[in-house]
Amino acid sequence: MPTYRKWFYPFISPFDPCPPLTPVSYETPVQLYLGFQPAGMEQFSPVQALAHGTLWPGLYTPYTNPYLEKRREV
């Protein structure tokens, strides 16, 4: 199973004007890994599909604000 969010630590200079806000995250959702969708994948119920925005649990990659988990290193 791939992870759908990656993190990296950019270079931090001792002369940076602002305190570092690291690590930096970026999204790598499921479509980068799936290839051609295989036949017979599991499906949500219609009501669940509407709530998730997709019929396929295998295509569901929700998003949360990554800044909520970050702490500024002072």
Partner: protein, 189 residues
């Protein structure tokens, strides 16, 4: 031709009175990577794309209009009861002078929509790769708006729209696989 269903694709609930969010959301209405640009791009490219994927562009292009309608509803709800002073404080003073409370196809910076934002190259691979890029750009726009918004109801609808970008990107990626496939070659499994 199209049939119109008089309901939104997904419910739009805005829980806070925050007209500033309307200014950000307008990016998805009339921005370069917005829903209008997506709809026009796909519905235009579909004429010259290989026949196996015409239907895909048709379907996704149509759905983009349903998304446009959701964004329009959000912007309308956020601005309809705002005073001119509130609009000014939200950075929408110039918009109000030019357009009143009506919606306008412009980006978050107030620049008018132009079709120069979108391309139709007539090369199937070039066009589909642009479509994949467009979906990924719209996905990230939704992420940045979610990061700026603390309106739970609105973020729920935006999460739905972001997931649709993921599904569309997946389908365009499959379209590339379909058109590059050598159909004269016999495959043995």
């Amino acid at each position: 031709m199209w049939y119109y269903e008089k309901k939104l694709q997904y419910p739009v609930r805005v829980s806070t009175c925050n007209p500033t969010l309307a200014k950000y959301l307008i990016e998805q209405y009339g921005g370069a990577d917005g829903e209008l640009a997506a709809a026009l791009r796909y519905l235009n490219q579909r004429y010259t794309i290989p026949d196996q994927v015409i239907g895909l562009l048709n379907d996704i292009g149509t759905e983009e209009f349903a998304h446009l309608e959701m964004i329009a509803t959000m912007v309308y709800k956020l601005t309809k009861d705002a005073t001119p002073e509130q609009l000014k404080a939200a950075g929408l003073g110039a918009h109000y002078v030019n357009h009143g409370k009506s919606l306008y196809f412009e980006n978050a910076g107030g620049e008018s929509f132009t079709v120069a934002h979108i391309q139709s190259k007539g090369d199937p691979v070039a066009d589909l790769y642009e479509d994949i890029a467009a979906e990924e750009k719209a996905r990230s726009t939704y992420q940045w708006i979610i990061n700026l918004s603390d309106d739970q109801g609105l973020n729920d609808s935006l999460g739905f729209l972001r997931e649709r970008e993921i599904v569309h990107s997946q389908r365009f990626r499959e379209a590339v696989e379909l058109i590059k496939e050598d159909r004269t070659e016999k495959k043995v499994f």
